[in-house]
Symmetry: C2
Subunit: 251 residues, 2 copies
DNA sequence: GTCTATAGGGGGATAGAC
DNA sequence: GTCTATCCCCCTATAGAC
């Protein structure tokens, strides 16, 4: 077990040595309300952030409330002042995670100039999706990683939001197809699952020191739209030696 | 809590009603050795298969040995005759999972005619990878899904195998690039992570009733090699309105 | 609001009968 | 080889002091 890092969204709490309880700075009975809300709200955020980070790293079941409390700098029992249960923390992490990426993609696309082409809108959506996953939020990668392993009851609860997100992507892709910028024979639903899934998997391997998120987004958009094959190169022989049945419909 | 299905690799065990212990069919002291090995080996496989299936579905920590035992049709304590610990089961599931997909891809490519082009070899690798993930094995999708959430000690143990697998993919991609079939500016390491990760994510959404695995493999190969953009369509304007920095090196 | 202590339950692992 | 019973630890959640 390694030394325990702590989230540092606000001033770090003390890690004072064994035994002695450090004196807490006396609080005035009515502190001026700071901009980010009162103390309880701030502590809540600390807990959620710690939970999201650990859920992402180890999964939901493997993360104990003691882990979360330690990362948030408090005792495990104290968290029950802010949340009713571990499940309640999970639900809020998931809600924030899907809301963050959904909002990020929609608003990024909406912010484009009115004359942006459907393909440009698709590129922008790819960039916004990856930003939310890889640099904006802890909640979004936590969501992407643990969602499918959760009990059906919890998945059912978040399913409408997830569907709305995928639906938006389908609209983007359909629009590009109607505009003649994507192949007519593209099975849109399957392609959207593939693309959104591929992007969410980047959280497993992306190294921010090797490339910027925007660089990665640019690459992926180009690979997907233009392909990695060299222009004019023959990537497929016409011998029929490798039959690729592509007749079935996609649901 | 649904009714409990059981793996049916061999004849189903009885689900006899409460209390009464059903009589077990008397076994001859020396049954003829069946083709798939002795009874212990068969039971071992049952346990591993049940574990892989549940690990894939719920994750490692969320899967209890009681779950595994129930799906394998035995009491939880009985499994300790075959495995030393839950960890030992996990290790074997992981080993089989990575070995299966590695072997599947290498042998599929090796089986191609000697004059197959590098791009054809890449297509075949994509098909073999997806077959291992989506139809051949329970172990491979379990591996793909849970690997990154496991404790560092276990990941370290399997890291060489995983690296060897990725290295093989890099060689395939490099070869296609050298042969002039892929773009010269393709950052191979990043691309391989993207491609392999994207394929492993298909286990989260692929619906075998909507399309065949080979159809999906054909689509993905085409999307990646040729792109989804319509030939001749402008997918990117030259206005510079959307700068895409792609200068950083990839590790 | 946060602390410590602990209740209560579940899960990995072991023991000994059969 | 598999069963049942059980040990013991850890985890979620609660209680009551401060």
């Amino acid at each position: 077990m390694e030394p325990k890092p702590r989230l540092q969204t606000k001033a770090p709490r003390n890690d004072a040595a064994k035994g002695t309880r450090p004196a807490r700075a006396p609080r005035s009975p009515k502190p001026a309300a700071n901009l980010s809300g009162d103390k309880a709200a701030e502590t809540r955020r600390q807990i959620l952030l710690a939970a999201a980070s650990l859920f992402r790293e180890k999964g939901y079941k493997a993360t104990t409330l003691r882990d979360v409390a330690e990362l948030a700098g408090m005792g495990a029992g104290s968290m029950y002042y802010h949340f009713a249960s571990k499940d309640a923390i999970l639900r809020e992490v998931l809600d924030v995670g899907i809301a963050t990426i959904d909002e990020a993609v929609r608003s990024a696309v909406a912010a484009l100039p009115a004359d942006a082409t459907p393909a440009e809108r698709l590129r922008e959506a790819i960039r916004a999706d990856l930003r939310a996953l890889l640099q904006t939020s802890q909640y979004t990668p936590a969501y992407a990683r643990i969602y499918n392993q959760l009990p059906a009851t919890i998945k059912r609860r978040d399913h409408p939001r997830r569907l709305a997100y995928l639906t938006y992507w389908r609209e983007l892709v359909f629009a590009a197809q109607r505009a003649g910028q994507l192949r007519d024979d593209l099975p849109v639903e399957v392609f959207v699952e593939f693309l959104v899934g591929a992007m969410s998997r980047t959280t497993e391997w992306f190294n921010p020191r090797a490339a910027s998120v925007d660089a990665l987004a640019g690459w992926i958009a180009e690979w997907i739209l233009d392909g990695v094959g060299r222009k004019g190169a023959v990537t497929r022989q016409a011998t029929g030696r490798l039959p690729l049945p592509m007749i079935e419909a996609a649901g």
